[in-house]
Amino acid sequence: MARSNKPIVWGPFAAGGTLTAFLTPVLILLTLLAALGHAPDLLAYDRLHAFVGHWLAKTVVAGVVFLSLWSAAHRLRITCYDLGLRADTAVATIVYAGALGGTGAALLYLARI
């Protein structure tokens, strides 16, 4: 029986699942506060620009974006299969490419900040 290469895609999924479990709710809470018109101080342009301008913050943001998108993509792949979409290779290619594309875009924008 051929051993699977799933660990390549599962490793970042598990890491991302853990990271998003700890972090995503509070981050959504921050933008929800902004959506309700009570934007936290950090979301003021000058503060956020200075904060994200630091190389360490950029690294962290890029890591969070990648792991969040990757774990979401992997789950979406499984969900498609669960719901009867049998073209797993095509689905996998699309969702993982989407996650990498989103991360690439984030890297480009971070480089300009």
């Binding site: 699942g17 853990t18 998003t20 479990a21 700890f22 972090l23 995503t24 709710p25 509070v26 981050l27 959504i28 809470l29 921050l30 933008t31 929800l32 506060l33 902004a34 959506a35 309700l36 018109g37 934007a39 936290p40 101080d41 950090l42 979301l43 342009y45 956020l48 620009h49 994200v52 943001v61 974006v65 969040s68 998108l69 774990s71 979401a72 993509a73 992997h74 789950r75 979406l76 499984i78 969900t79 669960d82 719901l83 009867g84 996650a99 989103g102 875009a105 984030a106 924008y109 971070l110 300009r112 900040i113």
Partner: protein, 129 residues
């Protein structure tokens, strides 16, 4: 005696066969909200890079009714993801101290405590209160 086994086909409707499958699908659908919100933040990074006016426009979009509805849903699904994830963590990462295994509730409890601490710390550092 002839054999003629009957195979029952499985359609997508299995997700409604039992409440546990509905809960499972809700957990899995959290990916749409976590992924969607993250993509929204990638766009936010672009607006931040484009300057104060673009960032202001981004905050304006956040304040739209559709965005508020999305945020409320996203927060609920993200929290559901966290709860299910931490509840299942002790299964994947059991801890044996001496002879006995640490009770599952202690391991997930530690994760919930850390989650609460992190949430408060981030809110504080972001100046939410």
């Amino acid at each position: 005696m002839s054999r003629k086994p009957y195979v029952r086909e499985m359609t997508w409707r299995w997700i409604f066969r039992h409440p546990r499958y509905v809960r499972y699908m809700a957990r899995e659908f959290s990916c749409l909200f976590i992924g969607g919100w993250t993509l929204l933040m990638v766009w936010g990074l672009k607006q931040l890079a484009d300057g104060p006016a673009a960032w202001g426009a981004f905050l304006e979009v956040l304040r739209s009714p559709a965005s508020i509805v999305f945020h409320v849903l996203a927060l609920a699904f993200a929290a559901y993801h966290s709860i299910t994830w931490f509840n299942l963590t002790p299964k994947a990462l059991p801890v044996q101290l001496g002879e006995e295994f640490v009770p599952e509730g202690v391991i997930s409890g530690a994760h919930f405590a850390l989650w609460a601490g992190l949430t408060i710390a981030v809110l504080y550092l972001a100046g939410a209160f």
